[in-house]
């Protein structure tokens, strides 16, 4: 249909509508990202940012980063979080969603609320709460003392154990998130297909194995990506719960970066090198996601 509009008016309207979002987005996300890459290769040490004379030093700060044992410690912890998410939250979340979807238990609304509830509370509140909960004066210690009166709680003090409570809280907190995603997608499956396989004599396992899991393959890929990129996002909870301590053993990349930029003498180029590393990592994940989706997705 031909519309009585001049091309000029159309273009004018388009940019007027798009501009606020584009400007804000570029100012807040695109520009800082690019600027960060630039800064990571200079010797910027604070003070005037624009117009200052910066010496280009190449990839020196990346070398510094890769040589720092704390970087590897942080990366390892991010990796642990990925493991807990992908092999803990996703399968448990799926099973819970499936049980609710098939109405294998009663009280579905109640249980759904209880599993999802931790997601709604501010991560800072959760973090500080569990710092107290797992501390020597907390409920966890008292409960274990009821079982074993000589129990000494070193969970939050022992560098080798400190990551365990963090991972438990992460598992507890976000399993409900994946449950909701799976539940929403299960509800999109045509119920008559499931009924038909039942009539054909398939049992619960077979229905799950041959009908439901294939239908959700795309969603599983998506949740895996969300879990991996979500693990890179972990900051608030750990910041409030342990601040990366003891001995920086619960640090993750974002906290490692925070420490270098805001604690003690700032090392901005190093912090920007870490930022850049994280951007590259997330972009890499986006590419992997899209490749995986092309292969396995599209059947939701």
């Amino acid at each position: 249909m031909k519309i009585t509009t001049s091309k000029g008016e159309e273009r004018w309207a388009y940019w007027l509508l798009v501009l606020p979002a584009v400007l804000l987005y570029f100012a807040v996300i695109t520009f800082p990202t690019i600027f960060s890459i630039y800064l990571s290769m200079t010797n910027f040490s604070g003070g005037q940012l624009f117009g200052a004379e910066l010496t280009f030093v190449g990839f020196r700060h990346y070398g510094e980063m890769f040589k720092d044992p704390y970087f590897w410690l942080a990366l390892k912890n991010n990796f642990y979080i990925i493991l807990v998410s992908v092999f803990g939250q996703i399968p448990i979340g799926f099973v819970l969603a499936y049980v609710l979807f098939r109405k294998l238990v009663g009280l579905q609304n109640f249980f759904q609320t209880m599993v999802y509830l931790p997601n709604t509370i501010s991560t800072i509140v959760i973090g500080v709460m569990f710092q107290s909960f797992f501390s020597p004066y907390g409920a966890y210690t008292e409960l274990l003392k009821k079982i074993n009166p000589t129990y000494e709680n070193t969970l939050m003090l022992d560098p080798n154990l400190a990551m365990i409570p963090v991972l438990i809280v992460i598992l507890w907190m976000y399993t409900g998130y994946y449950m909701i995603i799976f539940l929403a997608n299960l509800q999109k499956i045509d119920i008559s297909v499931i009924e038909a396989t039942k009539i054909d004599g398939a049992n619960e396992w077979q229905t799950l194995r041959y009908v439901i899991l294939p239908a959700l393959s795309g969603v599983i890929v998506t949740t895996a990506i969300l879990a991996i990129s979500g693990s890179l996002k972990s900051f608030d909870l750990i910041f409030a719960m342990t601040a990366g301590n003891p001995a920086r053993r619960t640090s993750v990349l974002s906290i490692y970066m925070f420490d270098n930029a805001f604690r003690g003498a700032p090392n901005y180029p190093l912090a920007n090198a870490i930022s850049t590393f994280m951007v590259v990592l997330s972009l890499l994940l986006i590419v992997i996601i899209q490749k995986l989706e092309q292969r396995f997705g599209g059947r939701e």
Partner: protein, 282 residues
């Protein structure tokens, strides 16, 4: 489905197992919160004497003290201001851009839209340091505007995505006939598109509202002045120097927790929908 295979011994065992799992989750959710709230009604001495039991008697004094120490009247006001302003701005700008992307032809749409979608998966943590440096350099450090601009910016990728996908589903004929009647694009946006976006507007509002209400990382580095901080920053104060003042710490945490719990219980359905809509692929 009263299939006979479901009714054997293993059927009941299975039921017990499934209920067991859900009750364990329920316990794990309820118990820490219950412990927190109960401890907030104990004096610090009473808490040290008995760390698990119920408060006896209930002591309410922690709340007014925590409220005062935490300056929660200021922080609540700020949190509300940031959350409401950001949500409104994200809605408006996202739907404007979404309308243009979905209904006005332009060569720019392809890469512009893609750059927004990439933003959904980019980790915000990775821009925290550069954002701090840039905010400082342009003189917006410690200002409300310096917090609002990043908040709106980070809300936009999801908003533009949801807005564009939704507005695409509005029939072209509706917009074309309005054009023929002589309506401008602004007019069409305000009187046709916006009223139709209600379902996605609710989803997006809830995603943005809860996201900004709980946001901590950015405001922590972009503001040092008490008067412009928000609730999560104030709550964290109770974990450092005040951590041994148990009663007040627990009261502060309860104060920080209750608004979101109430919000969730009211908007449970919409939040659930928002979460599944938010879990989009890149």
């Amino acid at each position: 489905m009263k299939k006979s295979y479901q009714l054997g011994f293993s059927y009941f065992l299975g039921k017990i197992l499934l209920y067991g799992v859900f009750w364990i989750f329920t316990f794990l959710t309820i118990y820490p919160l219950f412990w927190l709230v109960m401890s907030s009604f104990k004096t610090t001495q009473a808490f040290q004497m008995d760390r698990l039991g119920l408060p006896n008697p209930f002591f309410f004094g922690n709340y007014p003290m925590a409220w005062k120490i935490g300056k929660f009247d200021i922080l609540f006001g700020n949190s509300l201001f940031y959350t409401i302003t950001t949500t409104l701005a994200v809605l408006l700008f996202s739907f404007m851009a979404g309308f243009a992307f979905a209904k006005i032809k332009s060569k720019a749409t392809g890469w512009l839209y893609k750059s927004f979608v990439i933003g959904i998966l980019l980790t915000l943590q990775s821009i925290m340091v550069p954002l701090f440096l840039v905010t400082n350099a342009v003189g917006l450090y410690n200002t409300r505007l310096g917090i609002l601009i990043p908040y709106i910016g980070i809300g936009l990728p999801m908003g533009v995505y949801l807005g564009t996908e939704f507005i695409k589903s509005i029939p072209d004929a509706l917009i074309e006939s309005a054009r023929i009647d002589g309506a401008s694009y602004g007019r069409i946006f305000a009187s046709i598109v916006v009223p139709m976006t209600k379902p996605v507007a609710i989803t997006l509002s809830i995603l943005t509202f809860t996201g900004i209400w709980n946001e901590f990382m950015l405001i922590n580095i972009l503001a040092s002045k008490e008067t412009i901080k928000s609730l999560p920053v104030g709550i964290l104060k109770f974990s450092g120097a005040l951590a041994t003042d148990y009663g007040k710490q627990f009261a502060a945490l309860t104060i920080g927790m209750v608004p979101m719990l109430v919000f969730y219980l009211i908007f449970r359905k919409q939040i659930t929908q928002g979460v599944s809509a938010g879990a989009v692929k890149g």
